[in-house]
């Protein structure tokens, strides 16, 4: 059984329909990447799964439970964490407080402050500073650490490489296998197709609110991806 099973999901912003019958699955221990151009509906998709947008109840099933349209805070409590686009650290909280707020629901699991400090030692040195006073890469580490503090079974990552130097992106991605090893599956949105293909077990391509391609990186040729990404 899949950890996350999305079936025929539609999403709307007012009258504007952003997703059309999207289907996607994430298995236990899997890393799934979603690629697609700007405006393809990738972020909308993550926001729907996280409970920030209305959805048909049975369109999103997590660990056997329908969660479509459930309040975001209950979805977090069930084990779905989000690393939001733009990192969104809380500016009036210190780095340590940002991490502690990630554990607000008190879900038991392997992730503690100490574990996060070990995953990203640079954060430990800066635990007392304001979350937004750090470099972009450090903020992204804190945002990932904050999501891990909720001890999720599934972590949603929205463009964690956005606006960061390649060396920092490599450092961030190098940390992800350790996260999976602790029993957390990953659903990542990534504009950098090369990065997505390197890390993912499976890849989905979105275009104009629809899934245009799905498969394992080894099965996907450059031509098929280009066609799915830009439209043929």
């Amino acid at each position: 059984m899949s950890l996350l099973a999305v079936d025929r999901l539609d999403a709307f912003y007012g009258d504007f329909q952003a997703l059309f019958g999207v289907g996607l699955e994430v298995g236990e221990g899997e890393i799934v990447a979603v690629i697609g151009a700007n405006g393809a509906g990738k972020s909308t998709f993550l926001r729907s799964v996280a409970g920030l947008l209305a959805a048909r109840r049975d369109a999103i099933v997590f660990a056997g439970q329908p969660i479509g349209g459930a309040p975001a805070h209950t979805i977090v409590g069930m084990g779905v964490a989000m690393v939001p686009e733009g990192r969104k650290l809380f500016p009036s909280l210190s780095v340590e407080e940002n991490l502690r707020i990630g554990a607000y629901r008190g879900r038991p699991g392997p992730w503690t402050l100490d574990r996060v400090w070990r995953l990203f030692p640079r954060l430990a040195e800066r635990r007392r500073v304001s979350g937004t006073a750090m470099s972009g890469g450090e903020q992204q580490m804190a945002a990932i650490g904050r999501a891990l503090m909720s001890n999720p079974r599934l972590m949603l990552c929205d463009e964690i490489s956005l606006g960061l130097a390649p060396v920092v992106v490599r450092e961030l991605y190098a940390a992800l296998p350790g996260v999976v090893a602790e029993g957390c599956s990953l659903l990542v949105i990534e504009q950098d197709i090369g990065q997505a293909l390197r890390i993912a077990d499976r890849v989905y391509c979105f275009q104009e609110g629809r899934v245009t391609l799905a498969g394992r990186p080894a099965e996907l040729t450059r031509e098929r991806i280009a066609a799915a990404y830009f439209g043929a």
Binding site: L52, F90, P91, E97, I101
Partner: protein
């Protein structure tokens, strides 16, 4: 004229203004809610205390804390049942709703308690004073009020910095959507914030009603004092509201000493001066821990 007494008296009056301001500042700081009924809630607290002490006949030391607890419950239910429904990206709907609540409360109080001015019993506290020598004496009630203000603001500060609830308040204040992604039920947090705000309002309202007489129309001018103290001190800074309240109290007291007609005007002028020269207030909210 004894200026030392005037300034001392004004500074202690500032304790009351700081209490007026703290509840307003809390609601604005956490929810971006500008509560135009704030002054009327101060007066409603006084009437509830009056009702419990006089009509029901409870001892003031039972009646007043009970009134504070009732106001906390009112705050929670008000936010859950009404204000949460109108809160969103637009600050206008809650502004209009609290404006409506203000008018309704004033008329409701008028209907139930008539337009007569009332006062709360303070067990002689109103007139007792402490002689400091050199002909200077300060009242026990203003001193007590200042003590309560410092204690309340200190407690709120501890709540915000040291507790899990405070962490949730600050995160929700920073970014409501991301707070939800942390598993925080922001609607519940809002209701708790309003409960805390109205608890502070009720403490302020009871001290105010022991100090001076009040009637159903006393609310709006208390709202103005609260606003002025918040702006002078700096939005979102709890200790700033104490300083803002003290500055407002001292300028009013100086004005009153010069001529009884211009006391309030002096306070308003101090407020305008801050708005013109330092619109962010004296202690703007500091970012980071």
């Amino acid at each position: 004229m004894d200026w030392v007494s005037v300034i001392l008296e004004g500074a202690l009056l500032g304790g009351l203004y700081a209490l007026f301001a703290a509840g307003l500042s809390l609601a604005f700081g956490i929810m971006r809610l500008v509560n135009l009924a704030h002054g009327d809630f101060i007066v409603v607290s006084a009437y509830i205390a009056l009702f419990l002490a006089q009509t029901v006949g409870l001892h003031p030391l039972v009646a007043y804390p009970l009134a504070v607890a009732i106001m906390g419950l009112v705050g929670f239910l008000l936010q859950r049942g009404l204000l949460n429904r109108v809160m969103g990206d637009d600050i206008m709907p809650p502004l209009l709703v609290t404006f409506g609540i203000s008018i309704m409360l004033q008329n409701l109080l008028l209907q139930i308690f008539s337009a007569d001015t009332r006062g709360l019993v303070g067990g002689g506290l109103q007139t007792a004073s402490l002689a400091l020598g050199h002909g200077i004496a300060i009242g026990w009630l203003p001193l007590l009020t200042m003590g309560v203000a410092v204690a309340v603001i200190g407690a709120l500060q501890l709540l915000m910095v040291r507790t899990r609830l405070g962490l949730a308040f600050r995160a929700t204040s920073d970014d409501q959507t991301t707070a939800r992604l942390m598993g925080i039920d922001t609607r519940l947090i809002y209701a708790v914030a309003m409960a805390v705000a109205l608890v502070v309002v009720a403490i302020a309202g009871i001290l105010f009603a022991i100090r001076t007489t009040f009637d159903p129309a006393s609310g709006p001018s208390r709202l103005i004092f609260a606003f002025e103290a918040v702006i002078i001190g700096g939005m979102g800074s709890l200790w700033g509201t104490l300083v803002g309240g003290i500055i407002l109290g001292i300028t009013q007291a100086i004005g009153f000493a010069l001529s009884p007609g211009i006391g309030l005007l002096f306070g308003h002028l101090a407020f305008l001066a801050v708005l013109v020269f330092r619109p962010q207030g004296l202690f703007p909210r500091t970012r980071g821990a």
